[in-house]
Subunit: 406 residues, 3 copies
Amino acid sequence: MNGMSATTALGSSSDVLFLMLGAVMVFAMHAGFAFLEVGTVRRKNQVNAFVKILTDWSVSTVVYFLIGFPIAYGISFLKPVKQILGDNQGYDITHYFFLLCFAACIPAIISGGIAERAKFWPQVIAGAIFAGITYPVFESLIWGQSSAGLQAFFKQVGGAEFHDYAGSVVVHSIGGWLALPAVIILGPRMGRYLKGKSHPIPISNIPFLALGSWILAIGWFGFNVMSAGHLEKISGIVAVNSLMAMVGGVLAALIAGKNDPGFVHNGALAGLIAVCAGSDLMHPLCAFVTGAIASVIFVYGFHIEQEKLKIDDVLGVWPLHGVIGSWGGIAAGIFGQEALGGMGGVSLASQTLGSLAAIVFALCNGFLIYGILSKTVGIRLEQEDEFRGADLSIHSIGAYPEEHIR
Amino acid sequence: MNGMSATTALGSSSDVLFLMLGAVMVFAMHAGFAFLEVGTVRRKNQVNAFVKILTDWSVSTVVYFLIGFPIAYGISFLKPVKQILGDNQGYDITHYFFLLCFAACIPAIISGGIAERAKFWPQVIAGAIFAGITYPVFESLIWGQSSAGLQAFFKQVGGAEFHDYAGSVVVHSIGGWLALPAVIILGPRMGRYLKGKSHPIPISNIPFLALGSWILAIGWFGFNVMSAGHLEKISGIVAVNSLMAMVGGVLAALIAGKNDPGFVHNGALAGLIAVCAGSDLMHPLCAFVTGAIASVIFVYGFHIEQEKLKIDDVLGVWPLHGVIGSWGGIAAGIFGQEALGGMGGVSLASQTLGSLAAIVFALCNGFLIYGILSKTVGIRLEQEDEFRGADLSIHSIGAYPEEHIR
Amino acid sequence: MNGMSATTALGSSSDVLFLMLGAVMVFAMHAGFAFLEVGTVRRKNQVNAFVKILTDWSVSTVVYFLIGFPIAYGISFLKPVKQILGDNQGYDITHYFFLLCFAACIPAIISGGIAERAKFWPQVIAGAIFAGITYPVFESLIWGQSSAGLQAFFKQVGGAEFHDYAGSVVVHSIGGWLALPAVIILGPRMGRYLKGKSHPIPISNIPFLALGSWILAIGWFGFNVMSAGHLEKISGIVAVNSLMAMVGGVLAALIAGKNDPGFVHNGALAGLIAVCAGSDLMHPLCAFVTGAIASVIFVYGFHIEQEKLKIDDVLGVWPLHGVIGSWGGIAAGIFGQEALGGMGGVSLASQTLGSLAAIVFALCNGFLIYGILSKTVGIRLEQEDEFRGADLSIHSIGAYPEEHIR
């Protein structure tokens, strides 16, 4: 073996390691989704949060393997394992693992919105449809095998392709805007609004909420940095922009949210969601601003959603992932410009169009799927089950079984 | 330096990084063992679970460094550090770190079975013997410096060497089948069976149990993927097979375990245990089936163990690591076949023989060591100490000290 | 592209990945700082611990970006992102990320000492000064752009440069010795000492304390191993020495601390703090001894501090990070010697001098900054606010809001 081929082999192995590490980091984020929800819902619904997230993850793994990834990238793994391994040590299937972690975010995001009163299996079915079909179709149009046409359109109309480096729009906004119809159709939790008056329901456990936020933030560096796909394309800028947007989100939430721990820890996530799209393009200080604006959107958006619009979105996933995901798409079009110290090559018009397209796509699919499920199998727990809590009524056990015998 | 030698240097550094990352991931799994046990035992035994796991880890580190690794691989580190570093940046000692993480699983696995009534120091001693001698001897026979003879025997009798890529048999089944004698000799917890009737003891904290399961599952990708040993041997198949077995385990537990959170979170582990042996050989769909079967074995095995055999194995480590570890060894012989889309080169006979050998080896050693300890220093807490809980009686403090003064 | 240039490109990418992974691991340690504090303080101050750590992290990120890193290394990022990216894929800014994680340890360390009675914003300001100016100045003198002069002095006087591989002195001792003046000026918590008698305040939650310790220990491998800066300089010795010092710390704390879970879990950290400086130099068995001695220092130092000196340092950060950090600097000068199997090239005199310099530097800065803050804005909560707890008085919410309505 000469120097060149040894290097090629090492590069190929390094790519598999690179993507694998990214995949594991984003897989870990799903524990973060779980704890964020567990800390926010009441104690009687904590077990349900854990099982939902793990079940949705598992179902997503299967459907994205069999259906979703082939839709998005035209690659199937229904062939002998020797062929899957190929001569690049299984790069494609590792890529599947990494991108599955994104697809599985869709039900995980929705889970936080519909918490505490949704039936178990209908939501599993909805998640399977989203991770297996809905999301991959959109993914295919932006990143995947069918992207040529739509991107050519964006380029013609806006002057540049639609740029979404790590999924502010493709992942987060799709998840958040799918959740909105779900939450609306489901209706608010019992007692959340009485006679038109809002009665906020206290959250259960800030340490678990904080743990969830930390796990998500840590894993996010895999989400963004490993979106490079190949080690040779890694960029330190992506890592630091993610960091900067996160701390912008934290500090803005600290001020706008008046030192509330829920806002501070969700503010970190707001910043991270907003920076995904343009994390490879912006100057770090612009990433900071992007994150700070995201966090302000969350603090006020959450308030408007809950108090004015009276939408009982338990974790605020529509403003957090939906609205801020869209903001992230647009922000890439602003702060990615060379005039602002960015890498350039983006167009505000294309970014806005692409972000709007995602909203329309997600709303239509969300109303369609949840509408059908609601009319057929029903998506909401019986009143009595909701009152007892999803833990006892669905899982026949509470989160702290020993307590009940003391 | 020319291209080739630069590549060699980079490859050497990459190998150290690769193994180090794997080691850290598997080290982290020990926090998972701790939380899994903490969530499952009663509140009065939570501190003990933490201290046991951390102490067992620490003792294992020392004995495997001084005795175990030299037994298994014939490499000693009792020489100046310059020689340890060598010209490959300390590859061997990094390899020690990675493989220590496996050895230290043995006491960590047993810990979950004997929880809530075992004396502290006798178990530390048992763990030291297992990690320092028992396990390394078996490791040496299968993977290590003495493997030639036994593997030649397997090849002659079964047609292929015994294949255990990441330790379904060498690690998990040894741990689980060592735990069985420990649990039998120790006897059930006070009140667990009264007049031949089973009185299940409620677990304390499902969020901690779930946290433990998540940490284990995340770290497992280091356990399996980095078992390649060298970066150039990395395989994306191993990562995705681990994933697939895990989700097979989750989904089967969801059904067989009737949506019970304990089964769902242990089901993930069941799948991961079963897939270790053949994770480099199977098609991902076969890995899914391997994991699903493992999970069904756990759900019914746990029930049979606890209710029919009346063995009080608190975390169910015998069915989980023992029986399923053996299943993993056998499954590699089935699903590794080319006829089922696998890589081939394995033999069901060899796999079955190797798995049986591990059972016999572990049972003999377990009854011997725990028998001696039981007859000499005693392995069980005094009744009064057990009643007060291991936390107060061994560590003089409960898990939530502030509570006692309120 | 020929073999050499392909290898160079791969090496450059690998360096960015290497540092990024290290940065993320040390970033994760800040979740560990948070949980360690949350588990140790009373329930009424848990929210405050989370928000302090996250806010200090965020402020440190900004000030170290704008001021600290330029002070320490003479590199500014106030230029277009294309120039930041350069032709090494943003190595410098990734290096900033990694080293920020060290700088941000300073306020995180102090946070544990001043817990339960400090005002919020004055501590944020102090943290900003430390991470933005104080720490970078010392960093610059030892590791950074101004190191030539001081290191030449050490070499002349002591025979070798002052060696601090991963910051026992530069990071931990600076943090711990800055905390001492803060704790002294702040005074003990209400009721901690009454009429000259010590009344220990029970900690709240050992599972959270243990989680914090585990997260810190896991992330520490990034702290130490990635201090190599470049992948080609990685050393397996560093990883195993970190491990050995940790388990030395655990086992010594187990004995000296009479099986107390707080000492055992902090003992792991004591060992890790002590080994940073010489982790690249020592034989693993010497690292074990270094960690064991550190842990004994902590057990007795904590007792002396709290009971004899009557200093209410809640997490014991002065003995833990301060005194043991200094011990780490000295230990490198002892166990790094070739006569003890080490790599050599260090001098006990230089190590002692450097460690003393850090103490003087930190004490002066600590008394100065906290003295000024105390005289101007005040650093201590009002009595009533302290009594209600920092959570309700600063953040208007407790850690378990649902409890209050049941």
